[in-house]
């Protein structure tokens, strides 16, 4: 089969363009980074596995063999592969596989949303402090220092005890803890970026301070920020599961990986599958993020390899 002429022409035009660009620009930093990342087998495998897990989490409600909260009185403590429960069932006869699917989704959602909260606050705060510098920087970073030395997990626990087990509050509380490190990273990067020629050029061209931060500084922060994001998400998932273990996280019949693992841990002697399967799901998810984060760091900043 021959290619349609038009598409062929477009293709050749494109490759000519790339060639021309390559002649001028050489390989960009990001091309190099991508090449290094693709060569990192652990990271690539993690990306694939995580993609699959994400798909399962999103399609969970459609694929799940049972509704996650359906109580089946005849199936209590069903072992894996019994009575149609692939991974077994819990004390109320709820299907474990369905609950893991929902729990995975909830955990990923908590991880992503809380990380996004920390990203927005952290980047805005850090870039502002780093760009303005001087007294303002001093004050803003002092505030970060002060907040940094707060025993935050205690305040999260207090929050949960005080205001009840509120789902949205959980996102906000964890996100509010994580933004501090982000702010520090971003500030450091901004301080070195603002001395670069392209920022000077923008300033000479009359771009406003806000414009420079938004258009020139923030896009150039991407590297370290992306790495930090991939390492924050698993941290948040762990934090949520930690709270769930103390009974302060997501409330039943809703499930997260943390609630499932801690539920399983309490019945481990008699029904080990209730611990094993959620724990494996959780560990695999967290490992994927960690491998991807490590891979990205090595790819963007290959100093340590």
């Amino acid at each position: 089969m021959s290619l349609p002429p038009k598409r062929f022409a477009l293709g050749s035009q494109q490759s000519a363009e790339t060639l021309e660009l390559a002649a001028v620009k050489g390989r960009s930093l990001w091309d190099d980074a991508r090449r290094r990342l693709v060569r990192n087998r652990a990271a690539m495998a993690s990306i694939i596995v995580l993609g699959l897990l994400l798909l399962v989490a999103i399609l969970g409600p459609l694929l799940a063999p049972f509704p996650y909260d359906q109580v089946n009185k005849t199936d209590t403590w069903a072992a894996p592969l019994q009575q149609g429960h692939v991974l077994g069932a819990d004390a109320l006869g709820r299907d474990l596989l369905s609950r893991i699917m929902v729990g995975l989704g909830v955990s990923l959602l908590v991880g992503v949303v809380a990380t996004f909260v920390s990203l927005v606050i952290g980047v805005a705060w850090g870039a502002t402090a780093g760009y303005i510098g001087g007294r303002v920087d001093e004050l803003m970073m002092r505030i970060v220092d002060v907040l940094y030395s707060l025993p935050f997990i205690f305040f999260v626990i207090l929050l949960m005890v005080v205001f009840g087990r509120n789902f949205i509050l959980l996102f906000l509380a964890i996100g509010a803890v994580e933004w501090l490190t982000m702010a520090r990273i971003v500030r450091g990067q901004t301080m070195s970026l603002k001395e670069k020629e392209f920022v000077e050029a923008a300033r000479a061209a009359g771009v406003s301070g806000f414009g420079i931060v938004a258009r020139h500084i923030v896009p150039n922060l991407l590297g370290p920020v992306v790495v930090y994001i991939t390492l924050t998400i698993p941290g948040v998932i762990l934090a949520e599961s930690f709270l769930s273990f103390l009974g302060l996280g997501v409330q039943p019949p809703m499930a997260s990986l943390g609630t499932l693992v801690s539920y399983g841990a309490s019945y481990m002697e008699l029904t080990p599958w209730l611990l094993i399967f959620p724990a494996i799901t959780m560990v695999v998810t967290l490992m994927c993020f960690n491998f991807i984060g490590d891979g990205l760091r090595d790819a963007i900043d290959p100093k340590d390899r």
Partner: protein
Amino acid sequence: MLRFLLRRLAIAVPTLFLVVTLSFFMMRLAPGNPFQGDRKLTPEIEKAVNAKYGLDKPLAVQYVKYLGDVIHGDFGPSLKYRDKTVVEIIGQGLPKSLTLGGCALLLGTVLGMAMGTAAALRQNRGADYLATTVAIVGVCIPTFVTAPVLVLIFGSRLGWLPIAGWGNGAPRYLILPVIVMALPLVAIIARLTRAGMIEVLRSNYVRTARAKGLSESAIVLRHALRGAVLPLVSFLGPASAGMMTGSLIVEQVFNLPGLGKNFVMSASQRDYTLVMGVVILYATLILVMNLVADMIYALLDPRVKLS
């Protein structure tokens, strides 16, 4: 040095103030009160009890009074354990938490540094990949999974070690909790040491040591390790604080009468004074740990000026 200490003090004071203020108002905004127990108090008794502890005054007045008391080192009586002061309760719990945390910190640091160094010396070979993988897995398995699993294996099935309890501090009772707390630490420290070691092994002063004809072990132990532990030191400050939060879980699982357990219980029982006492103590410990870490850092690396 003096300037450095003053600057740290300038952070410590507002931090502690914020800690006291936040925890005070959060606890008071919580629904319920410490005297809601199994039996219902008559309104008269409740009023009398509230008056006794000064809980009937306006919140602002209570806050100012509490602030003044804390500055004088008086954390008040526990509202739940009526015959004990907060300081007494903390005095009972703290040594236990410190023992646990200290042992775990020591074990984690020694093991992690050994693993990280070994991995760095065999970079990108089998042993390195093994160590790196173990390190990543170690970070990903939460303590509340390792704890019950180890209890099941070594406690219930094999019967080698006690399942739970403090046992008057007998070492047998400490083994499992300490291992559980140390595991994530081993993982992180191994990673940090490996990264630091790889960088240092390429540095000029290590090359000089090699050129002098020193043995490999002298190079690693005397010269490289000192530079490689630098990132570790700044991590260990916050990490020792993390040990305390780690103890929240471990003390729960192993039923140990430490501070972490005090905190969780007192928060749900609305024991205002005890909660605040524990939080203030933790915040102070974090501040002190960070200060110590920075000072050790400057001691190890003469290039760093404390400012």
